[in-house]
Symmetry: C2
């Protein structure tokens, strides 16, 4: 699929229907010129409800006598990331990281860290010592399972990449928990373009003092032959209940002194040509928020930040070359 179509496919939030293209109609931004210039919303972020105290909670005691139907999501804290896990889709809702040049060199160990180092690997934390694991914090009924992935053809794709974590073997191991994993197309995506994209994000620690990244899956609609919009995604496992996202987003915030630069990206979960422009996958923040049902970096002043791709070059060309040398961190 050429880049222009990918861009159109993901720009679902901002535009008009383009009409049937190969049987599947795609969305398109109303202003084509916006494709390159990243979007900075001129509005404040969505506010959260503040009038909870006005709710008739006393009534709930009668209605909910036998308990609430459990959380829809689980909030999980790890050494190197924080994630919200979706019990119905058996994927993360989002995974948040904080990267700096120091963390990527494994120099961020602080006295407050609760690090358990595998004694056999004291010298070098290494992802080759990690194995994918089911997350026992999730009740079995809602847990993504290793067997869900068997013979599906999908990779177990990290959302917080293992290569972002160098602090300790324990911290790397945690990135292999299935609560940090989504089914991803391997060849051409997880093992290639998405991997180079992850390398690009790491490279931003050379430009910014602090890089905050939020990564997650999306389930985006397409227009069917009947002109109506449908979300369609595969589910794997037996019974089938682990969703295969149609797209993945990353929202990247770079901080240098008082400068804040922010960019949203949305990539389809399918093979992408190495030659595809990374800027073609930029997406207005509010479009990602609308689809994900989330507010990214709510404490950030939205009127003050700059588009990250205007501050630094959004390009994966260098990553392509570098990745050939860094095979250890690949896959």
């Amino acid at each position: 699929m050429p880049v222009s179509r990918l861009t159109a496919a993901v720009a679902f939030g901002a535009g008009a229907v383009l009409g049937g293209l190969g049987g599947i109609a795609l969305y398109k931004r109303t202003q084509k010129t916006e494709v390159i210039v990243p979007h900075v919303p001129a509005t404040l972020p969505p506010t959260l409800p503040t009038d909870v105290t006005e709710q008739p909670v006393h009534k709930a005691k009668e209605i909910m006598k036998f308990g609430f139907p459990g959380p829809v999501s689980d909030l999980l804290y790890r050494q190197a990331y924080v994630t919200s896990y979706n019990r119905s889709l058996r994927n993360p809702n989002w995974v948040a990281e904080h990267l700096t040049a120091a963390t990527l060199e494994g120099k961020s160990n602080s006295s407050t860290s609760l690090i358990v180092v595998d004694e056999a690997n004291l010298d070098k934390p290494d992802r080759s010592h990690s194995t994918f694991r089911e997350d026992l914090r999730i009740p079995r009924l809602f847990r993504a399972k290793l067997k869900d992935y068997v013979k599906t053809g999908y990779d177990r794709g990290h959302l917080a990449p293992a290569a972002d974590v160098r602090d300790s073997q324990e911290a790397i191991n945690e990135t292999f928990l299935l609560t940090n994993i989504s089914p991803q197309v391997g060849k051409g995506f997880n093992r290639n373009y998405w991997f180079y994209f992850e390398s690009f994000v790491r490279s931003l620690t050379k430009v910014f003092d602090d890089v905050y990244v939020i990564t997650g899956p999306l389930y985006l609609p397409k227009v069917g032959e009947d002109g109506r919009s449908y979300v369609k995604y595969e589910v794997i496992g037996d019974p089938p209940n682990t969703a295969v996202p149609t797209h993945f987003y990353k929202v990247v915030l770079g901080v240098k002194g008082k400068e804040h630069a922010l960019q949203g990206f949305v990539l389809p979960n399918e093979p992408i040509e190495n030659t595809a422009s990374l800027e073609a996958f930029t997406m207005p923040l509010d479009a990602i928020e609308r689809a994900a049902g989330l507010v990214f970096f709510p404490d950030l002043n939205r009127l003050a930040y700059k588009p990250l791709c205007a501050v630094t070059k959004c390009d994966i060309t260098h990553m392509l070359e570098a990745s050939k040398k860094a095979s250890k961190w690949r896959l």
Copy 2:
């Protein structure tokens, strides 16, 4: 669609793949004899994580410096129901009610109620005075909107039915908030079988002292021609972002003295023949929980309750007749 296929379609959680049927393969329970006898799980409900204090929360302060990406869901308390709203799907996750003979006669007003009565309707709270409203408690970006439904052909289907609420005009009005609404097929479903089903649930207040009901949407997979399982649902609105559920569930708990009777039902969001057996739509509780990502009535002893359809007759025949007289509460 004949009842047997509907039953097979919703019994996704318990069985083997049936194979292609009219181009779409459906799921089937392994034991056909179980279709009539409701399922009582012999296991304890899924446990919730209890080791939150062990999580490295101190790390999160660095990672989440600019705030958490908001809740995935909103918990909303109303006079007559409690609901969890899904910001991504723009549908409820669940809506919980508590019905008794007294509430259905409008005799449950207690001194603790915060009831605002429309002075023009002091005598008779009536749904004909209510209008559908967007829920201002939900941030605009995530709010289901009235215009989402225009010209889609879908009804604005109540999950907590207006007819379940008689206490006050205010309480009835609250059932018209779009956070209690999902897109439902009108003819043959919302206006017919689903309506009779709701009437059946109300009739249970004649059998039990207390009836607790949890209602919600489901997005269930079907097997495609390629043998893989896919979830496919329409999304309405412009941009399209309000999901049209493929199915709806009700989990009904009847309490009489020390007796607890419970039953799960799953109905497809499509026309159902009036002659269809309600028992054919019963579903094992854990299958609904697996699909919804929820635990229903977690404080209830699962080893002690009886199948509701074994305690009382699960049948809508009477409702069909009664509904012709009670046209006021129809639609």
